[in-house]
Subunit: 148 residues, 2 copies
Amino acid sequence: MREDYAIERFRKNGYKITPQRQEILKVFVGNNLPLSAEEVHRKVVERYPNISLDTVYRNLSILLELGIISKLDFILEGKSRYELNSGKHHHHLVCLKCGVTEAIDFCPFKSLDREKIEEEKKFEIKKHSFELFGHCELCREKPQEKSF
Amino acid sequence: MREDYAIERFRKNGYKITPQRQEILKVFVGNNLPLSAEEVHRKVVERYPNISLDTVYRNLSILLELGIISKLDFILEGKSRYELNSGKHHHHLVCLKCGVTEAIDFCPFKSLDREKIEEEKKFEIKKHSFELFGHCELCREKPQEKSF
DNA sequence: CTACTTGCAAATAATTTGCATGCGA
DNA sequence: TCGCATGCAAATTATTTGCAAGTAG
């Protein structure tokens, strides 16, 4: 259970289990789409009407620090998005019209490529991003394209 | 000559050739590293001490619109970076310590991969990003890692 | 009880916009 | 001259921080 695991990590690192924190965690556990801070806040407010956006931001930092969530490496809309760490390496399909972001398992980067580049460029690769931007099925025929 | 080409594009699209605009263009032509708005401003100020950061931003938009520069799809430091369109497809090596960004020609994404995904996911791919994050040769042994 | 947390308000930082003046074509 | 451009100041947006009060353990 991913939620129990996260709560265990809170405890081990001296963080208290507050209802707000728990609810923010639940939003991610119950959702495998990347969410913005505001979206997380919007969901948590349903149950904790007084929770502030600040608290969401502060808890996102902690979840990041504990490796429970990740911040996406790309920004389309001028704000960051965060997603639960699934444990499996993956990338994303991102719609340039509606912003919908879907995870895909496919990765084109092979270990031979990595070795060659590390050798040639004297660069130690820690991670990589690979994102596909385009139009999702629903947005194919929409005329207007968002600016992001 | 890339600069002449850009100036031609300005003309054709009804944009005037102001000294500030020309100087901003020159910064990119004389530099193949991705630059932030502030870095561009810093360079242009050397020659036009009164130029405002606003003007830089406004001209970056125009350069983007005309396809003369591109905005990088990833953000590490909380701000966007822009680079001259080289005409060749490429990706980047990005140092997580010092932020240095180098272009590389290597691309792992093949047309067969593309076709398969477009078919399977019913997603029309318009562009993709592929960035390698890690430590450059100079930063290998540095102890501190920046937060971005 | 005590340190971590929270909400509120204010501060930052990047980027954008309104407006009157300036200047290229 | 005329409309696009610029500089300045103020607005916006995402995110961060200071602080006093609240609460988990």
